[in-house]
């Protein structure tokens, strides 16, 4: 982790009609940091992530991601980030190899680069012998690990992970996190949401959204201290119970 800021958000706001989904949030994320982005359903996490990944224009405030402005340079943002979610990650009817080729191609990687790096990744994931298997026939845990490798294949500055470990078994969940650590150690910033509170402990810093605002942002250790709580679960419940709105 370094002092270079790769995300800065300043009073970032998104309104839908009279409804303020994201309410003047401000924060910085540093290079190589694992940044946990927590909040109850409906707190505004998805809307905030859409703005940061250049998919949705803010109503007010400013933000820069990977050095690019979210209003004017959103196409450049898309090229410099990776994205993976539990719901959508890989094409089920393409093979392992085809998925890698497809995503790498979209990001404009050269054939030589794709060939070299595919081999490396498949070896790391112990998937060399499964390269020609359809993704739909892989166990969920393998799929999620492959999806993560694909999301960072083009070596983005930042990767956004939206509940990457939902429903994954406890052993694979830990293997997944060890991949996150490796990516962060190589300088990729990891922006991650999760419903597993033990995973909040694995983040360098954690922000907690309540009703569109960021109500807490600190290291897990400091958050537990400030809220006089023994676990992140307790911190989360103390904050989230204050929420007024219930929309999704």
């Amino acid at each position: 982790m370094s002092n270079d800021k790769v995300i800065t958000a300043d009073r970032l706001t998104k309104k839908f009609g009279g409804f303020t989904a994201v309410d003047t949030i401000s924060f910085d994320v540093y290079k190589g940091e694992i940044f946990g982005f927590l909040g109850a359903n409906g707190a505004g996490k998805t809307t905030a992530m859409k703005m940061l990944s250049g998919l949705s224009k803010p109503t007010a405030g400013t933000a820069s991601v990977a050095g690019f402005d979210v209003y004017r340079e959103n196409e450049m943002i898309k090229k410099n980030i990776g994205y993976m979610s539990q719901k959508f990650s890989l094409y089920e009817d393409l093979t392992v190899k085809e998925n890698i080729r497809f995503y790498a191609g979209i990001y404009g990687m050269t054939n030589k680069f794709i060939k070299e790096k595919s081999g490396l990744i498949l070896k790391e994931l112990h998937l060399d012998s499964e390269a020609d298997r359809l993704v739909k026939s892989l166990p969920l845990g393998w799929k999620q690990k492959l999806a993560f490798s694909v999301a960072i294949f083009h070596e983005p500055q930042i990767v956004f992970l939206d509940e990457p470990t939902g429903g994954v078994d406890p052993v694979t969940r830990r293997e997944f996190w060890s991949m996150i650590y490796q990516a962060a150690a190589s300088g990729i910033t990891v922006f991650v949401t999760t419903h597993y509170m033990d995973e909040a402990e694995y983040c360098n810093r954690v922000s907690i959204m309540v009703d569109g605002r960021i109500d807490a942002l600190d290291t897990p250790q400091q958050l537990k201290k400030s809220f006089n709580a023994v676990s992140m679960d307790e911190v989360f419940l103390k904050l989230a119970r204050k929420a007024i709105r219930t929309a999704d």
Binding site: V171, R174, S231, F236
Partner: protein, 321 residues
């Protein structure tokens, strides 16, 4: 001879209201690509019990629920719900179970109230008749009863789905992953509702991928890759762990984990929230302390009781028979 047969039949029947699963198998696909979802699993749920099926995605939970709800035929084995056979007596079972599928399956274009009325009418009853049973849950969404179900938040959809599954006063409730994708606050609320439902003597079978929800059940079955790893009370599962567990933390958690993995008295070490957990082959925190002092690193450690997730990890490591 015939009367003796009948007595045997009676003895093998579960207590009415419960669920009996006997060597159930389920496979999908054809010759070349066979996926075995359930590899012959057996367990029994007593009447009025809150029974949890705990396991990750792809473990076979949904296949099992669909078989018990008489929506899917097993490839082997037998099962009874409320004393009735899932194949022969499927029509009667459908009158008696309340099934909440993992995927939201209510009518998005009907309002909250219309959905509940629809399900009541299908079972020839009315909201009024069974209001006492759903009141605790339904009253929380009643202020929005004229809103279309498709426009509800996740937590509210879940409450409506549970109300609809209950409105005909079922004796067995089958809840397939009701808390998946739901935040920690709504999850806690949902389990509080289930606890209160239990007092109505309804048998509840509930599945979840969240290990921390296991402790809220009377008994649990841990399931992985279509096989049961263990069936016990949450306390019994923990007791069966049978090994000493040590929690350790230090400044550099990644290096600490590698150090722990290198120590021959440690069988397995893995991250566990703010700490790493070390499963001991021999000894306890004292041995780990002596070992770590030699590495010169600052650390903090304590003996801890395993929880269900520790047990699940340990059971997953056991070689298949």
């Amino acid at each position: 001879m015939k009367s003796l047969q009948n007595i045997n039949d009676l003895n093998s029947q579960p207590v009415s209201g419960g669920v009996l699963v006997n060597n159930i198998e389920k496979r999908y696909g054809s010759k070349k690509d066979i996926i075995t979802a359930l590899q012959g699993i057996s367990f029994e749920v007593n009447k009025g019990e809150l029974f949890g099926i705990i396991g990750p995605d792809g473990a076979g939970k949904t296949s099992l629920f669909r078989i018990l709800a008489t929506l899917l035929l097993a490839d082997g084995g037998t099962a009874t719900v409320d004393g009735l056979d899932v194949v022969k007596d499927y029509k009667q079972i459908r009158q008696r179970v309340g099934y909440m599928p993992g995927k939201f399956s209510l009518y998005p274009d009907l309002t909250v109230q219309e959905n509940l009325e629809f399900f009541a009418t299908v079972f020839k009853t009315s909201i009024k008749e069974n209001y006492d049973l759903v009141k605790d849950i339904y009253s929380q969404i009643e202020p929005f009863k004229h809103r279309k179900a498709g426009k509800l938040s996740g937590g509210m959809k879940q409450k409506l789905a549970l109300s609809c599954a209950l409105i005909h006063r079922p004796s067995v409730l089958l809840l397939d992953e009701p808390t998946t994708g739901v935040d920690a606050v709504s999850r806690k609320e949902f389990w509080e509702m289930l606890k209160r439902l239990k007092e109505q003597e309804i048998t509840i079978l509930v599945s979840t991928p969240y290990m921390d929800e296991a402790s809220l059940c009377d008994r649990i079955a841990l399931i992985q890759s279509g096989k049961l790893l263990s069936v016990n009370t949450p306390g019994g599962v923990v007791k069966a762990f049978g090994k000493k567990l040590v929690a350790v933390k230090s400044e550099n958690m990644l290096e600490l984990l590698n150090d722990l993995k290198r120590f021959e008295n440690i069988e397995n070490a893995y991250p566990f929230g703010a700490y790493h957990h070390a499963v001991m082959k021999n000894g306890d925190a004292k041995e780990v302390e002596n070992y770590l002092i030699k590495t010169g690193r600052k650390f903090e450690l304590k003996n801890v009781e395993p929880d269900i997730e520790d047990c699940f990890i340990a059971l997953m490591r056991e070689p298949n028979e």
